[in-house]
Symmetry: C2
């Protein structure tokens, strides 16, 4: 490109990409000239290929694209987490098979014909809904993110750990969630005037239980039946789950079984001991539901090898529990200068947005980072700001700027600046 970069160390942002269409009239990108006009046919063009099938699968050459960082509590195999392999994905949708997991007592094998959702407590008419009844209600479907409030907790470590993007940030996924607005079911049941919260219970062995303000439930909560077009998968709450757009994932109770309207929150273990934010002054922030504005560069990132100097796409995801992403800035000089990134169509509320810049990597060590701003004006904070006032070991709701250090070997590593 014969045009000036938008920021230091060879970064071409939205401005440059829009002006040039990226191709400045010369083969400046990584391509090879091609002279042979008689194309030799490879072996897979010599004989008919594989058959039609009832269900497709990824290529055998993509077998490395799996959920990673799988771990569980000692003596268990279902009380833990697995991570979305963000560094191998592009766009915003997460394939359902790769959606991260966080289960507290494994995945129940629920027969939908024997499962019901009970709506009770401070209501005029307690009601029970089976899956087939629920599917008769007019639904909504929206593409939105789900993030575990423990995502990125690795960044509380005093020294930057040698972990990849999935291990640090992979408790994030984006799906099209489809289901019945819970407001319809509660209006049908008739909420008593003193009802201010609902307590949602799951049908797993842990009976995951969370309290949610009634206002959120009536605003945009759904009982989700569909994920990315098909019925929920067991690891994501089959046959039905609560889904609370923009809020910490744990409150979107999977395998939803009971919605009880109450005056007060239940103060369950999972909202007092866990999923709360202990401060250095000994107080704890409770019910800190909305996820903060956040972004991360997924490529390049640890494990993806840069093949020498030249032009590369720098790409990542940005999201916020407050609504739409407004801007994402990228720096290739450790935060001294920033270029506004190009955002993919369409920037949806409470969804991740894919951002991109072009970067001319000169082969020298470099420090790259991204910083998101949402439509509320909130700006993704530095790590120092996120750690301020946070008690030792308090690891929920971590949304600091992520810094990757690129080595002369073209490898990225998690660092603090």
């Amino acid at each position: 490109m014969n045009i000036p970069p938008d920021a230091g160390n060879g970064l071409y942002g939205r401005r440059a990409l829009l002006r040039s269409g990226l191709a400045g009239g010369a083969a400046l990108l990584t391509t090879s000239a091609f002279a042979d006009t008689k194309l030799r046919r490879p072996e897979w063009m010599q004989t008919p290929g594989g058959p039609m099938s009832a269900a497709g699968a990824p290529s055998r050459f993509e077998a490395h694209v799996q959920r990673t960082s799988i771990r569980s509590q000692p003596g268990t195999d279902g009380s833990g987490v697995s991570s979305t392999p963000l560094q191998y994905l592009d766009g915003v949708i997460t394939p359902s098979r790769l959606h991260f997991e966080r289960h507290h007592s494994g995945i129940p094998d629920i027969n939908p014909a024997q499962h019901k959702l009970y709506v009770h407590g401070l209501v005029d008419r307690p009601l029970a809904f089976d899956t087939e009844a629920l599917a008769r209600y007019p639904m909504v479907s929206r593409i939105q993110f789900l993030e575990c409030s423990g995502n990125s907790s690795a960044l509380i470590a005093p020294q930057a750990a040698d972990l990849d993007c999935a291990a640090i940030h992979g408790l994030l996924a984006v799906s099209e969630w489809g289901g019945v607005p819970l407001s319809i079911l509660l209006e049908e049941a008739g909420v008593s005037p003193e009802g201010k919260w609902v307590v949602a219970d799951g049908a797993d062995a842990a009976v995951m239980s969370r309290s949610v303000p009634l206002a959120k439930i009536m605003d945009d909560a759904i009982v989700a039946l569909y994920q990315n077009g098909e019925r929920l998968r067991p690891g994501n709450g089959y046959p039905m789950r609560l889904f609370l757009p923009g809020w910490e994932g744990n409150a979107s109770v999977k395998w939803l079984r009971s919605i009880k309207v109450t005056e007060q929150p239940a103060m369950s273990k999972e909202e007092t001991s866990k999923y709360s934010d202990l401060q250095t002054d000994g107080s704890a922030k409770l019910f800190t539901f909305p996820m903060g504005v956040k972004s991360v560069i997924t490529s390049p990132s640890p494990g993806l090898q840069l093949r020498g100097p030249g032009l590369y796409q720098v790409s990542g995801l940005a999201w916020s529990g407050a609504g739409r992403i407004k801007t994402v800035e990228v720096s290739a000089d450790g935060g001294q200068s920033w270029a506004a990134a190009q955002l993919d169509d369409h920037v949806l509320p409470l969804c991740a947005t894919r951002f991109r810049v072009a970067w001319r990597y000169n082969g020298a060590p470099a420090t790259i980072m991204s910083r998101a701003t949402d439509e509320s004006g909130a700006v993704q904070p530095t790590r120092a700001a996120v750690m301020r006032g946070r008690a030792a070991g308090s690891f929920y709701h971590m949304n600091p700027i992520q810094t990757w250090r690129i080595s002369v070997e073209g490898q990225a590593r998690n660092v603090y600046v």
Copy 2:
């Protein structure tokens, strides 16, 4: 609901849904009262559930949700089609494993390290790109539909065939497609002034070959590398395919191997003998690329059983190769009256849009249909209008209004009106 319907035979459209929130203060929908406040725990709450895993899978209770209507040319198993099971899906995204197939000589098993895309013909600099090189270019990703131009061809039959929604309309799918704008690659190669078309060849044994006007290529064509967040699946062109938003699927050549810039179209078999529209006057429409405005009710539809009178969701998909869907109307009285359907957020261009109405089924036979209008003002035509001037056996580009007849047994059947 104590509010008047928006159209005949108990249809509640967008107007009623917005006004009432659907719940009029009484349990008018299909629910059962619930009095037992001591909930008995089912067996799957008694012991820990299944483990975390590297990849998730659908529930064993959803094993019937597969691609259907699989058929191939005699003596082959890879020269045919399989259909997206639209009647079991909701929202707009099609899970990649269920994306319909139309292959002309099976699915090649391509090693991406040995595959290249050649850009040549009327260009200043012939170029070759491997997958890794392509992935260094700034990409775009967009959620858009792909429809085989032979979709819905069953509706040319003189008598309405007893087929389900997938068998008639299932050569349609929606994915997030991510890749490199082909305009960037062609600008880099330098297109000669006399270049007006490109001929795209696939790396399958059939060497699927289609001619595409250069204007479309420079407008919004991409070399797709990603589908729904992950690399393309083999059945959808791994490691790369052409993707032409809104145009007949066949022209989005899978396993893309060669882009040759030419003055004239190649007049290949697949654009003269096939994928053209023969008229009764003996002429044939060639290069009829954009798919027409269309909609179909996916639920209820054949194979989905209504369980007696009561309120049901009527839901379906609408799409158009001309841009965004503007309105969808639904009728429950055979087209005598229509209600404007509620459209899901967000109505995206060249994407399918999910529409919904509520319907009070009174148990009597009923005739339901949907009719889409796009932002260009085009209205989905009747079957009679689509058949007018069409030669016998000419089956591409069928977008008539689909009519389902609901029997007293609550079963839907394809009919003509």
